[in-house]
Symmetry: C2
Subunit: 379 residues, 2 copies
């Protein structure tokens, strides 16, 4: 096709954009902080994303700039736009993914269901929120958190003391009594078209996504209330925040059947990795289509169920090379994805997806295939 997409950040999300880029003949170029990252094969420029000139040099000759993460500073994003570069999602949308206080305020304005929340500036304000919300709350740094970092359960104002030292306001939220976590993935192109995948259930362990069930159990029917509510919310967020590209809306399903927005990610997201093998159009292909303002692809599932299980680094560092053969041998039906990263403990180094007609069977096989990557001692 010949269009050029520039991706800032060279992690596994940029890496997984490369296969669909090759199939569609999109020239994918990656701006990296250094060599040897997950998307190294597509890196065309190494530089500092905090320096506008370096990002501008990368952006010359690309049709659109997009992202592997949300950490590019606003002044750089706005500098790109001022220089005439198409940036998708744009700085105005990305600010809500970069600052959880801004995000909560904007979602509240839009009337989107979210947990009780407040901006707190000191221990007294935090204590007041805790007292008003049953003696417990979730304290978050508005910026820089991911995979459970920057999030803390608190039962007194004093437990926020170290974070208040930075002099910045914090976000506090009610501790939601949730039945499970869900995610709704949506893609939107600048000219307006929107596509939604089925709602999924995400299972977290130690604050990190462990597995994803697609569709969310109980949400299989086309007339499902859960799917309808989640789709409506995700569309409202995409429109209300003017997000382009893929947007992941992480949700709580509360014990009293409410759906509340937890987090937002304005890029392909771990909750959508299953789409590579379980949907006609993967989130990575869709993101490329969306940021290029091309017609979006069909988001139907290729099988009734798909389950994705993350592969994390184990207690020992080192290569997972010999474990691939074991996983392939035992699970010829599992789709194995490796991010080409060294296996530090707890680090996401790959994932496995199995698709098929029966949820229990598919989930069992996906978990077993992922377990084949564990240390020998734990198999």
């Amino acid at each position: 096709m010949g269009q050029v997409v520039g991706v800032i950040g060279a992690g596994q999300l940029a890496r997984m954009m490369l296969p669909p880029a090759i199939e569609l003949d999109i020239d994918l170029r990656v701006f990296a902080a250094g060599r040897g990252e997950s998307a190294d094969r597509a890196v065309t420029e190494v530089g500092d994303m905090h320096v506008l000139e370096e990002v501008l040099a990368f952006a010359r000759g690309v049709d659109v700039v997009t992202f592997d993460h949300e950490h590019v500073p606003q002044d750089v994003l706005r500098g790109l736009v001022d220089a005439g570069v198409a940036v998708r999602p744009g700085p105005h949308a990305l600010q809500y993914a970069q600052d959880k206080l801004l995000m909560r305020r904007r979602l509240a304005e839009l009337g989107i269901p979210i947990p009780e929340w407040a901006e707190v500036r000191d221990e007294a304000e935090l204590q007041a929120f805790i007292d008003a919300n049953g003696g417990v709350a979730v304290l978050k740094t508005p910026r820089g958190g991911y995979d459970g970092k920057g999030v803390r359960i608190v039962r007194s104002g004093a437990e926020g003391a170290d974070w208040f030292e930075a002099g910045e306001p914090l976000l506090v939220e009610e501790r939601v009594d949730f039945r499970r976590e869900l995610a709704q993935l949506v893609a939107r192109r600048p000219s307006g078209e929107i596509a939604l995948w089925p709602i999924v259930e995400t299972v977290q362990r130690d604050g990190v996504c462990a597995e994803v069930l697609a569709p969310a159990p109980g949400a299989e029917g086309a007339d499902d209330r859960l799917g309808y509510v989640a789709a409506t919310i995700a569309q409202s967020v995409a429109l209300g925040l003017d997000v382009t590209g893929v947007l992941a809306v992480e949700l709580f399903e509360t014990t009293d059947q409410r759906i509340l927005v937890n987090e937002l990610a304005m890029r392909p997201h771990n909750s959508g990795h299953w789409t590579i093998d379980g949907s006609t159009t993967s989130q990575f292909e869709q993101h490329l289509r969306a940021v290029l303002d091309l017609p979006l692809g069909d988001t139907g599932m290729t099988a009734p169920h798909a389950v994705m299980v993350n592969v994390l680094g184990g207690p020992q560092e080192g290569s997972y090379g010999d474990r691939y053969e074991r996983a392939m041998h035992a699970h010829p039906d599992a789709k194995i994805h490796s991010y080409g990263k060294s296996a530090r403990p707890g680090r996401k180094v790959g994932h496995v997806t199995v698709a098929g007609p029966e949820l229990d069977d598919v989930a069992y096989r996906a978990r077993a295939a992922a377990a084949a990557f564990d240390d020998d001692s734990t198999v």
Copy 2:
């Protein structure tokens, strides 16, 4: 995973090996005759495949050498093996794909059903074969033919005169009265494991593959005779010729219900492009697994039917850029694959695959999506 596969030849087959190589973290390196070919993104060495030293320089540091085509000379292949390089498929297997006379002789020895054939050295021998086979025959140059080149229908010995001038024997075969053409794709790893995809129907136009229906209509059932016969033939060929990697066995289904072997390709093949979107394991991923002697993946279909239609260059040369948007808009369910090639008339520049539950519907949509790439005048 970290293994290194070196591919000689930088066409679309090498290109389509790259996405699964990325997902499995296989380092794919391509040896090309020049820059700008379809698999350019993965080229690590430019050289002349007829010069052993140049190919050896490429092969240093790779775990296995494999191919985008069958045209690497035997002396170079054997030089690689002598230097300790793993070459898959090996020279002994590849000679049968390189020389149709050797292939016919070997298949006859193995008792595999093939058309009537003879080696002919002059017009008189050709005339004798024609006379013995109903006054018509198919004359083939043993080497260098593909996509209808090097093949000619003849009704007299004199019609082979120009080809005999080269002084080499030719292959003559009966003109098979066939109902349709089929293909059986198989993968085999050096340690012996074999995997077969469902048998497919291939539709040729002007000697070039136009579309592929998977499975071949009428061969949907697990107890199907056609599939069983084709599978048995393909396994016999893979074993008898010691092929490793993917092998495509092109077949005739005759009007009297016989299955005869037409051609062999010892690499991923146009008849298997549908597997990218229609099978749990694509032929490109499987080829990488097989040549690395890794466990093979599941070859089941992800939908009851898949239809692949080739996109060929039209009367006008030039970029197909604006036609992608048209195809994507009208056919969000079509999987579009571009080879990044300029669109010379009749040249394969991409393909489209649609998968789904009903053959008629799937075929209609795949053809319509491919037609969206035709010149405006013909839409």
